[in-house]
């Protein structure tokens, strides 16, 4: 099994909170309604994306 290169757990947690934050920002912009499915979908999607991004850690050029 391939070992993760980055931090998948941190990525998933950060992704979850980023999804919540983006949903809140879109709500405050008035782009989506409170009862929109995006308020649930965005945190879930970003949780998964964050986990995957943390696993593969593509920002190699930022490693000192």
């Amino acid at each position: 099994m391939t070992a993760p290169r980055g931090r998948p757990v941190l990525g998933a947690i950060a992704g979850l909170f980023l999804g919540i934050a983006i949903a809140a920002d879109l709500l405050l912009f008035g782009t989506i309604a409170v009862d929109s499915a995006l308020t649930i979908l965005l945190p879930v999607v970003f949780l998964v994306l964050g986990g995957v991004a943390g696993f593969f850690a593509p920002l190699r050029f930022l490693r000192r």
């Binding site: 980055g6 950060a14 934050a21 983006i22 809140a24 405050l28 912009f29 008035g30 409170v34 593509p58």
Partner: protein, 193 residues
């Protein structure tokens, strides 16, 4: 000389991209939702309100999203298709809040000896200032009478900017912190000695 970006520059760049995306989404959104909400009013009653400086709201005729002030007053009229003396009635108009927060009551009425079948007057409200503006909320109302129940709801946006209050500041801060955390998680860990 070779450009070598720092984590701070990467996070700032990602943040700028997200904010640029929001700006585009916001510019396209505009008032698109204003006519997307149909009227919602059942039961055969009639009700309308004239909000000072903001126009008339009639949930039986017009849907859409109304912009209303956080503090204000409105003159209202309402009637029910019921006759009779000493009827038992109840009713309420309230602003529903998200996340299970308790609703804000605008007006409630009722009793065991209702005689008439219409009412008019003025109602005032003062919604807490910490509630952000520009967020689409639901105002619902009902009137329970003998043999009749009327229900209606409209969508409103509180006047004012969404990011002016503490909730807006917290949302921006959470966006920045979680973006930084995600960027850090995407940097490969050092392996080996």
């Amino acid at each position: 000389m070779r450009f070598r970006p720092t984590p701070h520059a990467a996070v700032a760049g990602a943040l700028l991209l997200v904010l640029a995306g929001f700006t585009v989404v916001h510019a396209q959104g505009g008032s698109a939702s204003d006519n997307s909400v149909p009227p919602s009013f059942t039961g055969g009653c009639a009700a309308s309100a004239n909000i000072a400086g903001y126009g008339t709201v009639d949930p039986a005729v017009s849907g859409g999203v109304y912009t209303v002030p956080k503090s204000g007053s409105a003159t209202y009229t309402g009637s029910v298709p019921v006759q009779g003396q000493d009827r038992t009635t109840s009713g309420k108009v309230q602003v529903e809040l998200p996340l299970g927060l308790p609703a804000i009551s605008i007006k409630s009425w009722g009793g065991d000896n209702t005689d008439g079948n219409s009412d008019s007057g003025t109602v005032t409200w003062d919604i807490p200032s910490w509630l952000p503006g520009n967020v689409e909320l639901t105002v619902s109302g009902f009137h329970q009478d003998e043999g009749v129940r009327c229900e209606g709801r409209i969508k409103v946006k509180l006047d004012g900017g969404g990011f002016a209050g503490p909730i807006g500041i917290a949302a921006v801060a959470l966006t920045i912190v979680s973006l930084a955390g995600l960027a850090w998680a995407m940097i490969p860990r050092r392996t080996g000695a």
